[in-house]
Amino acid sequence: MKGFPGGARGALAVTAFFVLCCLVRALAPQGAPYLRLLSAHAIVAGGSVLKLSLLAASALWSFLARDRLEPGHPARRCWGLLSLSFAGLFSGQLSLAPSQLAYGTEAFPSPADVFYLAGTVLLVVAIARFLRVHRQAELVPDPHFHRALVSFAVVALVVAVPVLWPIALAPAPPLERAINVAYPALDLVALVPLAMLLRLTRRMGGTVGRVWSFLLAGCVAFATADVLFASFSDPALHPVDPVLHASYVLSYGLWATGTRLQLDLIGARRAASSAAEA
């Protein structure tokens, strides 16, 4: 983690520690003595605090990244939308936190889903705008852009049927089923611009490539977590499943790292150029 600012290192370290705890909890044999430390309540409560912290950090750092770009800069609105998206997810997590901390449980569906759905829609819009802006930068020509776009859209449609069909047919109340379908459906919509963005940035290395690797890996982890969440037939299992919590914390941790690195990329260089001017 050479060259990582403190915030990014901290986000990665706590994320890795929590994911490790969840994996131990998921893989440990029943009755193992150390499971007392990693109780279901501890995973849910610890995960809740961590999710809130990482989402707050992501929202703040992406907002600051937006703020450091002058009005009219092509990427300014993208970073603003990303910040709003993280703020929406944070609000959803915040409304779940009291019951998670006190009882280790969470209601589903709940008002939190309004925030989560709004946050996810904003995430899709932000990714699509980043794609447009990065393409318009024309650093490297992309003659096969439209062909790739159609291919990814077809793949998303083909994947949508087997993923969404069983969720749509699951024995659950209509509202619950609709929300369960909405999350992975939105993620599949997001995966098209996301795949295009990955295609555009896959050859990037250096500081820019590092930022986008973390942000896009976070989106992939988030989509995976949403599919896992929707795939559980019994919502009562949601709060205690450590793999589910690990997937969400992983995505939030990757986002926090990526946004902090972007902030450093803009901020550090500004300081360096001011020093050079002096």
């Binding site: 450091r68 770009l69 002058e70 800069h73 092509p74 990427a75 802006v133 990065h134 318009q136 930068a137 024309e138 650093l139 490297v140 020509p141 050859r203 990037m204 290395g205 250096g206 500081t207 820019v208 490539g209 990329l265 803009i266 260089r269 500004r270 360096a272 150029s273 050079a276």
Partner: protein, 83 residues
Amino acid sequence: MRTDEVTQAITGVLSPHLGESMAYAAVCAQVQKLKVGRTIRPQEVDALLARLAAGLNVFVGPTTSAGAVEGARKAVSALEHQP
């Protein structure tokens, strides 16, 4: 100045930001767009750096972008003064 030398010099400066492969591809793409031949004139260097600055600006912001392009300008200038 030889275009390939200028390309290499600018690539070296942009690599920490974009990675070597992407930096090289970006410089080559802009050289092709400007229809530069085997040698490059100072005005063409300016145009090339302006295009790269605009592209880089989207990813890293204007300050970092301007700093990188200034570094590239110095690298090209050093080529001119080579014996």
